[in-house]
Symmetry: C2
Subunit: 490 residues, 2 copies
């Protein structure tokens, strides 16, 4: 066990911070609330990007790029958007620096004040719908299925690496449709796509459903979300897909001529996931030795470490190691052969455990004699001796097995931590141990607000697949027709 990590059981929050930093994923920068994503963390993010991007393109989406800056007045155009969206934004007011006449470096040039302030985008609905206005005239221009990979800024008072940072990286999809049905279908299609990605690539099971009115995106008609359970029993919103109705089309006057020649407002959606997913990846699978990366997103899937004394032994081992490396790479597996002579094997073992590399191969002189390799799994921390012959296919299967196993373990944990409760006392008690709580709610924002105030629990989702069931709101006792999912959340 890595003794430089706080134990998960002792202080989960500190364990998370330690791990993000020690595993070289990210660190705080000189700018309050903004992080530096370090090369190893960024390599994982690149895998996330690349896999998601493939899924977007497979479903007919294309990428584009819209301005970083949004004129302040744009925010006021959609009433609910400006009212509900946090106003903590970075505001650009000037466009020039000048040398300080007193010789103290540079100062802001007061003569270079902008007529209208620019907001660093916290999300791009407004600038994008202002642009779509010129792109959409006829039904032939629809649907418009566009995604953007970008940085966004939301001024946060309390930040945590990946989970809540002032600047973060994300993708934001913005689609335009001729009909309500089509936009609703798109909203759900993306929720399904996110579910597929988070479950099958990140190895994290999710609950899916609709956000309550208080929790939905400002400007949306409906917000769908996927929620994942972290190991401390708190929920993390892993992605959202918004059905925006005609709200932004009306705010920016985006109309099209339909087949019959009638002018109609366009229907729309928006959806996004962010570097927050990196936090989920750490928190869902990590242990006291470090990260546990699912093979589908691991920048290094297999590491090979030689156990040797002296250069001539290393040469002999290297021949075998490189042969195995090449075999694995031919199967499309990412392999690192770590033959550094500056570090001992034990150090390397700990390092790759910390970094969550799914499979470690160790080869020593005895392995050369016996034609074997020691294969260690990061997720279970188990080891076995395997014949070199056929090793590459064996590893390929093993990586698939690990991917499944990581998901199964998370799923088991998640399922063991879904509780159905019927009384307020039970509710509060269950919250202390954590997990998802299925409970009846009277459907009012007032009750939701009171529950949040008293317990910090929020309604994470109203499940898509909830069955009708007559019950009473755990808080107000008023009648309720279905259970919703409560949890404390990141």
């Amino acid at each position: 066990m890595a003794d430089f990590l706080t134990k998960k059981e002792d202080n989960y929050s500190q364990w998370y911070n330690d791990l993000v930093i020690k595993a070289d994923l990210a660190e705080n920068s000189a700018v309050r609330g903004c992080m530096v994503i370090k090369p190893y963390g960024y390599a994982i993010w690149e895998k996330v990007q690349s896999e998601l991007d493939k899924l977007f393109k497979q479903t007919g989406h294309v990428n584009a790029y819209f301005p970083l800056f949004i004129p302040k007045s744009f925010f006021s155009k959609e009433a609910a958007h400006v009212e509900g969206f946090a106003k903590e934004c970075a505001v650009v007011t000037h466009y020039r620096l000048k040398n300080d006449p007193d010789g103290n470096g540079v100062i802001v040039d007061p003569d270079a004040k902008l007529e209208e302030e620019l907001i660093v985008r916290p999300t791009s609905e407004t600038i994008i719908w202002n642009t779509y206005k010129n792109w959409i005239q006829s039904y032939r221009d629809l649907p418009l299925l566009i995604n953007q990979w970008a940085n966004v800024v939301r001024w946060e008072m309390r930040t945590r690496l990946f989970l809540r940072t002032t600047e973060f990286l994300w993708q934001e999809g913005h689609t335009a449709h001729a009909t309500k049905d089509e936009a609703e279908e798109e909203t759900r299609k993306i929720t399904d796509l996110y579910t597929h990605f988070v479950q099958d690539f990140m190895g994290i099971p999710v609950l899916r459903g609709i956000k309550s009115e208080s929790e939905k995106f400002a400007g949306a008609v409906e917000t769908q979300a996927i929620e994942a359970l972290m190991q401390d029993g708190k929920s993390l919103q892993a992605g959202t897909s918004h059905f925006l109705g005609q709200n932004f089309a009306k705010a920016f006057d985006v109309r099209f001529t339909d087949k019959s020649g009638k002018q109609k407002y366009v229907w729309s959606t928006s959806w996004g996931v962010s570097t927050r997913l990196m936090g989920a990846l750490v928190m869902a699978h990590g242990d006291n030795n470090g990260l546990v990366l699912p093979p589908n997103l691991a920048p290094i899937q297999v590491v090979i470490i030689p156990i040797y004394k002296g250069d001539s032994q290393l040469d002999q081992l290297s021949e075998t190691a490189i042969r195995i490396k090449n075999e694995l790479e031919n199967l499309g597996i990412h392999v690192k052969y770590d033959d550094r002579d500056t570090h001992k094997p034990g150090f390397k073992f700990a390092e790759y455990e910390l970094k969550g590399v799914p499979v470690r191969l160790a080869i020593g002189p005895r392995d050369i004699e016996n034609g074997t390799v020691e294969v260690a799994r990061r997720d279970t921390l188990t080891k076995e001796i395997v014949n070199q012959e056929g090793i590459s296919l064996y590893i390929k299967d093993l990586l698939e097995e690990i991917q499944k196993s990581i998901f199964s373990k998370s799923l088991k944990f998640r399922d063991e931590n879904i509780f159905s409760v019927d009384t307020w006392d039970q509710f509060k008690e269950t919250l202390e141990t954590g997990g998802f709580i299925l409970a009846h709610w009277d459907g009012t924002a007032e009750t939701e607000e009171k529950i949040k105030k008293e317990t910090k629990a929020t309604i994470r989702i109203i499940p898509f697949d909830s069955v009708e069931e007559i019950g009473k709101c755990i808080y107000s006792g008023e009648p309720s027709k279905k259970r919703v999912v409560f949890a404390r959340a990141y």
Copy 2:
């Protein structure tokens, strides 16, 4: 010829603007100087990114991400950097909006003023070297070979799509080395890498060399650049690679312990290319019909268009078209089959010419009878009838041939437009027709400045491979040992 494009010969500048907009590459946004990169333009940029990224990784570089914002005081730390770097920057002074008490949307909250203003990065040397300080202690931490893909902002008064925009996308490499030699080697390695990319992917020949003292990057010891000649005879700086000496290491106090235990300052480089390359791609190869894309960067390499009357004929053609499409895709070629029934073949032909698709296949009923396809080349606008049998390998070879041919044509143009001149009159006269001018210069900034003022020509590079040659400065008549390259430039 596309009659909605201004003719190149009539007004090159207008032709460029028309083309960028009509070919759906980019457009101006609601924010002054910021562009929207449209899906087709962005697809080309994604190809640029992906190919460059591979080259960076093959040469041992990794990606990371640093903050968008830089504290104002950081800029003052490196004296030449703050002095020489343009001070036209976007300045963030506040971090919150609030509802206007008069009910007019939102206003900047005066209570949310930042203690220190933040600058939206115009380039990231300062924030990165402030970060590297914590990453580098020992020679074991070196070299650090990091690249970042990011947006940057430089407030520009006169902007042109891709060529000069307030916000643009780029990559910036920032490397740290133990020795001067190694940093110098890296600087040149990147110049070579950029040369390879621009010549072999973009199909544009470049001249390479060193910038004069006046033209070098603020904070660099030496700036290397690649310069490409556009069809109007103006030069475009396509990429720069800076040897920064120990300037930023000293400014941010970044030292390491070498093998002998001594503390030394780190040596460094930085280098970048940007969405400006998109402008070069348009201007270097485009013609009066539209874009001419080199196959290596074309999002669609081959388009197949059926020539048919009625649905049953289309079905028959589609069978063949889809078979050919699959064959081509199996060879890794990007193919679009355009069977839209909303547009006539002639419209489609013009559209794909405008968009620069390298190869167009047309299949009509007679082709089905004869087992043929009509193959049209975008670069030469030539057509030929080719047998369906073996078509995929034929097209594969043709794409390679087009890639080479586009480069050769540009190279021929470039070579025909390099002029060696020896008098001031000749110099001014030659400038009017455009091209690269090889001329003697006395080596002083004064002369360089005067030449620029009188003619708008600048020293683009001092060539790496220039031969020693005794001569006299075309302007001052003072002695000179080698010729440098002058041109008017974008």
